[in-house]
Subunit: 399 residues, 2 copies
């Protein structure tokens, strides 16, 4: 039998830039980034803004237009700036993808033009998906505006929307052209969003970097008190660890393993079970707490270490428990049992179930099954710790 | 300013296999291919068939089901085999993509499961697009059934559909898991489809391989007479040259250059202007004829060489000319002028116009502009050659 063995590698390269005041007249970060793309003529930019961001920054659209005018010899800002709903609803309405595509078509955005997406992770995911399927991919510059998107999702290679009621059912692996993290946007986050993103830093520290975990512990009270400098440091280090992981691993997830999803099997399910009342980072904090207790009960992680993790999560002001955790715990075949999240997690990746657990702070280990009885015990322990906390005076000190 | 320089390469590997009688009980090509994917459990396969293929092969669905039953310990054939309209309409109806996605969802096709697409290039493009966006990409096995898809599109990395009336407006670069070329499907092609695919072989020979061009010349009369063996040889060599090109070049087309699209700027436009009455390969044959004449008139290509190309195209039975070529030739701003195809070609890739021309048989050269007056002269020359042919007795010998 004749055959052709085809094999090649596709190189990807992009920068994650950290700045403040992206559209200030003396800030050339954006214009330098998009004109480094070797377009023969001033490239077009179509801007899409998260409605929540626009509401907190009423001058943003005017600033963008002023910036466009200032640099009109170097790029062509499309007049029509699109404003789209933020948060999970952005990923639940496929019509928003059509809106982006219509603008791409109407304004002649081609593969050498740019879509600039400004917003939280959900908006970036949705706009990124539209950009990745238009002309098989127009250039995407992400401007993440939340802690979570600046330190995690915004710097990665995934784009997508929810479909058939399933999270990220439609999507594409497609690295951005560039990511610009503007610290200025963090100032207007509400406390929940400020805090939520730190869950991803705890996660990546636990599986990869004990020193970073200690930094998170040292700075927890300051960060909970909205101190900007440690937050920026934490975002940078977390982004760096995520970027390293993508670089060294399996960026397009051909295998069954997804080490960065420590704590996420329960988190995804809890988000869904609470109708996204629980934000992603809040759910991840609970998922981490659950999986460190499980790691301890299974004999992998010593008691002192798991209690340090619980203490850090509490100090940052996260809840450890939601009632949904106990729903149908003994009936894991029910759709509203958190334990079903394990099977859904396996399904999304396909292949074999692969779950990250913790052996010591800074070192994760992958396993291929979890014991239902031990998960139930972990949830009970979590509830107990959560109740103890509620009656403890420490709470007042920490939050 | 702090920054992270992200850079990595994603490796892709797949085989293009050549077989006959894919679903015969003693043919293990398919079952071996999909079980080489290291799935921990027998993988699922969802099959999608081009309606045109099904009509020419009334036993196909039964054969597939029998094959699935025979190998049920090694893979799980999804009972519901989808049959979708073939040809360009497959790419014009986004509902077909939804149909595939619904089946992916309903049958729990995950990233370690397979979608097997059997059909011509349009069906493969459409099904491939659905497979590439579901779960950010489920595994796609393409079974191209036409000469054109076996020697060109079916072995490449592009998937897509038409949208907003624009060809391939939506799509993704996503290499298949495997490609299986079954020569048996060629037997039932009508003469136009049998012939049309050879245009891509002429194209790739002209820009890359003089020896292959000579082979095409030697075997032209036999191929025009539907001789199977030279056709299979030509498909193999053409596929090999395309695969080599993808491997050595810019698989995801980050740049502005697309050397394999020799003759295609006019071809795409002629397909559109004739409402796809002209098949892709037929349009490419005319586009090649046009661009070799242009190459000659511009002084790049000698007369003997360009006449050899014209003769080969004629011997194979292609038309050299369609009346649409002369529509609004002097008004290239009009939508129905073939010359507008140049700008549309530039737009789709973005960036700078890049057109392949021929310097000698087997050697292409890229240019960044074309002279409108010279294009018009080339079209006039093409019409003249076409008329000369119609009055020539050779026609009777060749076709």
């Amino acid at each position: 039998m004749r055959k052709i063995d085809q094999s090649f590698s596709v190189p990807f390269r992009y920068q994650v830039l950290f700045t403040e005041g992206l559209f200030k007249s003396d800030n050339t970060c954006l214009v330098d980034t998009i004109t480094a793309g070797h377009s023969p003529r001033p490239p077009k930019i179509l801007v899409v803004v998260d409605q929540g961001v626009q509401e907190h920054h009423p001058l943003l659209l005017a600033d963008i237009k002023r910036y466009g005018k200032q640099h009109q010899d170097r790029f062509q800002l499309i007049d029509e700036i699109l404003v789209v709903p933020g948060g999970e609803p952005a990923k639940n309405d496929p019509k928003l993808v059509d809106t982006i595509l219509e603008a791409v078509e109407a304004h002649g955005i081609d593969r050498h033009s740019y879509v600039l997406a400004i917003g939280g992770g959900a908006v970036l995911d949705m706009v990124g998906y539209a950009a990745s399927i238009a002309h098989r991919g127009v250039r995407l510059v992400r401007v993440p505006t939340t802690v979570l998107s600046q330190n995690d999702s915004g710097i990665g290679v995934k784009n997508g929307i929810n479909f058939f009621g399933k999270k990220n059912f439609l999507g594409a692996f497609d690295p951005p052209f560039a990511v610009i993290n503007d610290a200025h946007f963090l100032l207007t986050l509400d406390d929940r969003d400020w805090r939520a993103g730190i869950a991803e830093a705890i996660k990546v520290a636990l599986i990869k970097d004990a020193a970073f975990f200690e930094q998170l512990e040292r700075e927890a009270v300051a960060v909970a008190g909205r101190s900007m400098e440690p937050m920026q440091d934490q975002i940078f280090r977390c982004a760096e660890l995520h970027a390293e992981h993508i670089r060294g691993g399996d960026p397009f997830e051909k295998g069954s393993s997804r080490p960065l999803d420590f704590g996420h099997w329960a988190a995804h399910k809890l988000e869904q079970m609470t109708n996204f009342e629980l934000r992603h980072g809040e759910a991840v904090a609970i998922g981490i707490a659950l999986d460190v207790i499980y790691s301890h009960l299974e004999g992998r992680l010593d008691e002192a270490s798991y209690l340090r993790v619980i203490r850090l999560i509490e100090t940052l002001g996260f809840s450890l428990f939601v009632p949904e955790l106990k729903q149908n715990l003994r009936n894991p075949e029910k759709l509203d049992s958190v334990i079903r999240g394990l099977e859904e997690f396996r399904e999304h990746l396909g292949g074999e179930l692969t779950i990250m657990l913790i052996e010591e702070i800074g070192r994760g280990v992958e396993v291929h099954e979890m014991d239902t009885e031990l998960i139930i015990q972990s949830i009970e322990k979590l509830e107990e710790l959560s109740k103890a906390r509620k009656t403890s005076p420490e709470k007042l000190i920490h939050t």
